[in-house]
Symmetry: C2
Subunit: 374 residues, 2 copies
């Protein structure tokens, strides 16, 4: 492949680690192994490969995932249960275990020597690495939350082919870490859609090793909201980058719904718009086709009064009171020409709001997915 | 536009008429008028236009739909309540009422003079007209069921931008006709998906004028199953033609699910596969990517054991017992090269089965929908 396709992430200190996994019934072998490790407690390393997902590979695939875990533990000098395994790529093919084992030894040898090796190793059809970090003060200590992710195709609410690894040096109690990752995933990664398909391989991990030396955080700590916000900021940045780098995407599309009856309704409405092939193709074609936005909302399963909806493309109001607002169409189309497109829908059902992220549907998406394996 | 875009369908005899409408919350003005007419009883004419959907056009759009109904009634010399109105096309623009009125007079003048004028008048991005008819014997009388439809984009289970008009000379009681259309729609039109979007304009009408002179049918008539089958055959043919002529489609994709726990589960599984962008793009690329089929099933919301699933592309078994069945990949890809692609999934959850129809996802779909209005 001519690029890195195996990576190790490792904390020298012990960690608290939380994880969330795909909701797809078809779940890859690595998820079984990682779920088990996270439940046992103490995961402080990740071994990840791209190219082959090790999903739909039967019993032998599960054995391969355990071997991968074991080889990584050996190379790092830690317990097997301390290693999470992640794979992404083609479904139904077995891992080339000799190359995997050699790759693990190689990666362990260069650990701590810098470089974006891990972020690169997890990419598939992604066009660039994704990473970010934020700092915050907690009880006089500076803590850092960092993260890297891959996305691209099969991305949809409820975790598409997405791998996200968040790390922090904050000290956080286990239950608190778990709740934080779950809440944040709901508000960030689960609001991204590229193509409506979900993958068997998706996971997000949040590892905290306590090196910052703060009093361990619980949900009740006065400083907890600062930590939660830092994690959400990292996750939101990664989620947006995943949407922006969707397969074949030329634009990031952000859909904001306001005035919904509940956050759940707002999320469903925003996701329905951002997932609509017709809306996505219209954005690609720079056609401010608000009829498709309204129709996608009507198709969301949420009940609302269409006559009370207001729609904007960027700052331009295009629909209100059940009919079009006269506007300069060229100007509305121009709001779709930049790299970031914002569509806003305001209802009069209540006070809830939500944002979802996606991308346009281009010729390139069809090209990539018409010839992924060949 | 250089093609017919207004049509009239008319029965000289009075009719029983049943109708089903879009489930989209955003519903076009013509649907309001047609629903009212069908509920009042006696609809025996349809006036339809393509190009503008008359949806999201406010109070004035509703007035326009009533005017359209009234002009058609006048031209045909019947009551307003006997006329159904259907519009399809761009959302949010008002109808050019002068042209519509002139078109109605013109169409009324050539009624009964043959030709596929009506079938052509309802097309939007469709590439060809769709029509079929079947004959059957009922109590010594020959009855005919015929139908025409348009589809193309915004097609999805629960009635995409689909118009379907079925007519029969059988005598059928009102309640029986209604139940027949509802059942048949569920098993045919609602199992078609082109792009997962639904439209505000969709409707299917079934008109029966009794000219065949049979004893009026009820659900309990010994001959009812013959009639129901005839209607279902017409609707299935139209549904398949809609899928085959999906926007940008190069192939009809038929997904059959067997061995499901319930018909509802089988439908959900089949629809999830046929609606998956990744499956659709793989078919376009002639890539027998069964991993995407399995994953789309896992993403359907239906619970099942993936390890007990068997998958076929055409006659070639590709997955069984939780892992790939060794097969000639070129041979499997070749099953995607013809105009009709068949994908079969067999579960071991029960005895229920269902079939759904769709099409591939091509560059042309993106081109059409990136430049529909412009």
């Amino acid at each position: 492949m001519g690029r890195r396709d195996l990576g190790l992430l490792f904390s020298e200190l012990p960690c608290e680690t939380a994880a969330v996994f795909t909701h797809n019934i078809v779940s890859g072998a690595p998820l079984l192994v990682t779920r088990e490790a996270v439940e046992t407690g103490g995961v402080r390393a990740v071994v990840a490969n791209s190219g082959i997902a090790n999903a739909a590979t039967g019993e032998r695939g599960i054995e391969d995932a355990y071997v991968m875990q074991s080889r990584a533990a050996e190379a790092l000098g830690i317990e097997e249960r301390e290693v999470a395994v992640a794979s992404t790529g083609v479904i139904g093919e077995r891992l080339p275990m000799e190359q995997i084992s050699a790759g693990i030894r190689l990666a362990a040898g260069v650990l701590g020597k810098g470089g974006a090796g891990f972020a690169e190793s997890i990419l598939t059809t992604d066009t660039r690495t994704k990473g970010t970090a934020v700092r915050a003060e907690i009880g006089g200590r500076t803590i850092t939350v960092g993260g890297t992710a891959k996305g691209s195709g099969m991305i949809h609410p409820n975790m598409g082919t997405m791998l996200a690894f968040l790390t922090t040096d904050a000290a956080v109690e286990g239950a608190c870490l778990k709740e934080t990752l779950s809440r944040v995933t709901d508000r960030t990664f689960n609001r991204v859609t590229v193509d409506g398909d979900t993958s068997p391989s998706d996971m997000a991990l949040l590892m905290a090793n306590g090196a910052a030396g703060n009093e361990p955080l619980t949900l009740d700590s006065p400083n907890y909201p600062i930590f939660a916000e830092a994690v959400e900021n990292v996750a939101r940045t990664l989620a947006r980058e995943i949407a922006r780098d969707g397969e074949g995407a030329t634009r990031l599309v952000e859909v904001a719904v306001e005035g919904a009856a509940s956050e759940e309704s707002a999320v469903a409405l925003a996701k329905s718009v951002v997932a609509s092939n017709l809306v996505k193709a219209a954005v690609f074609g720079e056609d401010a086709n608000w009829g498709r936005v309204l129709t996608a909302m009507g198709n969301s399963g949420v009940t609302f009064d269409p006559g009370a909806v207001e729609l904007w493309f960027g700052p331009i109001k295009v629909f209100s009171g059940g009919e079009p607002v006269p506007h300069d169409e060229a100007e509305a189309n121009a709001t779709l020409a930049s790299g970031e497109v914002k569509i806003t829908a305001r209802l009069s059902e209540g006070d809830a709001s939500a944002t979802a992220w996606g991308c346009d549907l281009s010729y390139e998406y069809v090209r990539i997915n018409g010839s992924y394996r060949t």
